[in-house]
Every structure is written in structure tokens, then in C-alpha cells.
Amino acid sequence: MTDSTEEASSTGLFWCVLQRDLKLASRRRIDALLPLAFFMVALSLFPLGVGPEPQTLREIAPGTVWVCALLASMLSVSQLFAGDHADGSLEQMLLAPSSAVAVAAAKSAAHWLVSGLPLIVATPVAGLMFGMSGAGLGTLVLALLLGTPILSLLGALGAALTLGLRSGGMLLILIVLPLATPALIFGAGAVAMVESGQSAQGHFSLLGALLIATTIGAPWATAAALRISTE
């Protein structure tokens, strides 16, 4: 078997799993929208808790949006492999001729499209709620666009590691949160730079580098974790 046909079948496997997951999400729309609902409800608690002072709200907005996006991702990612594990689908995916890395990548991509992308679309509404400036809001959306795929990739790794454990959900958050802090720091930091009139290019470069590194590394680790978890 040559490398090119191997590559073609990996791509085939990727699309096959991605399409199925999107189809399943479209048939369970309520479930798919829950992370978005959580994100919006959690965000709307902050003005109530911190108080309506516009200056304070503007300052805490980027960090708050990032933390809520992080938690929304973690809560939705904990079930990423559980259903497939319970009904035997995961076993069949690991038995596919091409590498399980394609399965891990496809599941992460599906998670981002279903749970990550809607958060980004809703972020301008959140920005208005916190009275953010136009430039700050644009930077925040761009930072989330680079950062939320990192959360989905790391979350998939955590979900694979904790698959089949009784308190998997909580453990997953404890494993992934430390790994996700760089994305949080640079993502929220980019907005702070723009708000203070400086260039956020450095922060974006670092976020981009983080995204590339996770895209390359996380699916491999996830595939290995899945093999161990299903043994």
C-alpha cells in the first residue's frame, strides 16, 4: 500500500466521521445548542454580579467571554466519545483501515463546528452587553476564532483520556484547564492590547502558533488515548 492511497483513505475516513457527526448534531438540535445557551446565561450573570458600572464591565469583558467559552467547550466535550463508546461505534472506528488519528481529528473538528463556532457568532451580542468598543470586539472575535479550535482539540484529548471513568467530566476539566491557559492568556491579552491602543499582532502570532502545535500534536495523542481507553 503506497503512502498516497493511505493518505486518501485517511481523508475519506475524516470526512466520513465528520459528516456523520454533523448529521447527528442536526438531528439533535436542542442538545447541540446547549453549550451556546450555557455561554450566554453564564455571561449574563457577570453584569448582575459585578454591578452595572460600564468601565468595570468593559475591562472584564474579554476575560469573562474567554472563561465562559472555555467552560462551555469543556462541558460539551466531555460527551464527545461517550456515546460512541457505549454503542460500539468507537470500536468500529478504531477498526477502520486508516489511522485513528483521522477519527480523532474529525471528532474534534465536528465539536468545534457544532459547539465552538456558535459561541463566536454570539460573541458580538455578548460584547454589546458589556459595552465593548468596535475594535475590541473585532479583536475578541478574531482571537476566539484562533483559540476555540485549540479548546476543542485539547478537550477531545481530555475526553479520550477520561473515557469510561465515573467522574470523567470533572477530571476532564482538571486535565484540560491547565493546558488551555496559554490560549486564554493570549486571547484575552490581545483585546487588552487593542483597547490600550497597541498592536495585538504578537498575541495573534502566539495564538496561531499554539493552534498549529495543537493541530499537529493533539489528534495523535487523542488516538493513542482512545486505543488505551477501549482496551
Binding site: 454503542d87 470500536e91 468500529q92 472506528m93 482496551e231
Partner: protein, 212 residues
């Protein structure tokens, strides 16, 4: 396919050891053993889903470890679970499983495979509305589409099937053996397969007493 000196474990308990087994083309082997003897564990080992505690598995001269993708292309494993998603229709679920394993089945072939197992009239029904027996039939219809994989590992394939279903599955297995394929299956009920005469492989002589 040849297995030598194989030992399998579940958790900390060793289930069987020094297991030797050879599966020749065109044969059907009935794997027997009491509950908890490791029938499913052995099938999972052979499928490459878990790693043996000791011993080697060879398929056409390759060992499992170096086999990788080429190995997985050789076999079909259908376990206790049917691997069907509740929110897909029976046809979509079967089509996904076939594509997952690199199959290129078109719609007609999928419907024909379902016809073979007598489930084609329910092809558009959501999997969650199907009974256990109907789900089993959908999962087994994959076998009809997997003619190119020589080794079939079936864990309790007759579970939940009615007499019509058993006859249909026997027909599919017979056809596979005539092509030179090889089937290893477990079943709690006596097999009604006549062609080819199933060989029996008993796990009891290899069993280890569970250690505390």
C-alpha cells in the same frame, strides 16, 4: 491465520494461556467456553482491539503488531454492540459503517444487503424505532458488503435473531466460506449451520483459574 502461545487478560485476571489455534480458509469455527472464559476477549485480541499478555497472532504471515492498516482491512469484527446510532436511519447507519471500513457500496448494494437479511422494508426507519432483532440484522447486513475481507469475527451473531434471521445469516456465512473466507464465531445456542460443517474450538483446556 495462526495463533500461538496466546495469553489474554481482563483487568488483572488472566483468562487463558498457551492458546494455539489455526483458522484455515473456507472454514467456520465455533468458539466455545463457559461465561467469563474469555471468548469476547479472544475475539477482541484477534481484531487488534487489545494487546495480548503473551504470544503472537499471525495473519497471512504478518504479525498483528506489524500488520496495522493492512491487518484491519483483512477482518470484520461485529461485537455484542451493533454500533448503530439511534438518530440515523437504518440505511444511513449501514452506509456509514461500510464507508468507515473503506467500502465503496452504492445505494443499490446497501439495499440489496439489507434485503438479504430481510430488513430492507425498514431501511428508512430511524434506528431507535427498530427492535433488537432488527438492529442485529442491520449490523449483520454489513457482512454481505464485506466479501473482500477474508476473516469474520462474530461475537454472538445469532443473538436476538428469529428463525428467519438465523437462516439468512447461515446463508451469508456459507457463501463466505465457499469464497474461501474464514469465520470465527461464538454462540450460546447450538449452530444450525450445515455447510460447511462448523469446527468446534473449546476454550476450557486453556483456561486459567481466576486469581484474587
Amino acid at each position: 491465520m495462526r495463533v500461538s502461545e496466546l495469553a489474554g487478560e481482563r483487568g488483572d485476571a488472566r483468562l487463558f494461556e498457551r492458546l494455539d489455534m489455526a483458522l484455515a480458509p473456507g472454514t467456520v469455527t465455533w468458539l466455545r467456553g463457559r461465561n467469563g472464559r474469555g471468548k469476547t476477549s479472544l475475539l477482541r485480541l484477534l481484531a487488534g482491539l487489545s494487546t495480548p499478555a503473551a504470544g503472537d497472532i499471525h495473519i497471512e504471515g504478518r504479525t498483528l503488531r506489524e500488520g496495522g492498516p493492512a491487518w484491519r482491512r483483512q477482518l470484520v469484527f461485529i461485537g455484542h454492540h451493533n454500533a448503530l446510532k439511534d438518530d440515523l436511519s437504518a440505511k444511513e447507519a449501514l452506509s456509514f459503517l461500510t464507508r468507515l471500513h473503506g467500502g465503496q457500496a452504492n445505494d443499490d448494494e446497501i439495499v440489496q444487503a439489507m434485503q438479504r437479511l430481510g430488513i430492507a422494508q425498514r431501511q428508512h426507519a430511524m434506528v431507535r424505532t427498530l427492535s433488537q432483532g432488527q438492529r442485529r440484522r442491520v449490523a449483520l447486513a454489513r457482512l454481505v458488503l464485506s466479501a473482500t475481507s477474508p476473516l469474520w469475527l462474530l461475537d454472538e451473531p445469532f443473538d436476538a435473531l428469529d428463525s428467519d434471521g438465523i437462516v439468512a445469516l447461515n446463508g451469508v456465512i456459507t457463501e463466505h466460506a465457499q469464497r474461501g473466507g474464514c469465520v470465527l464465531l461464538t454462540s450460546h445456542q447450538a449452530l444450525s449451520l450445515v455447510d460447511p460443517e462448523p469446527q468446534t474450538f473449546d476454550l476450557e483446556p486453556y483456561a486459567c483459574e481466576a486469581r484474587a
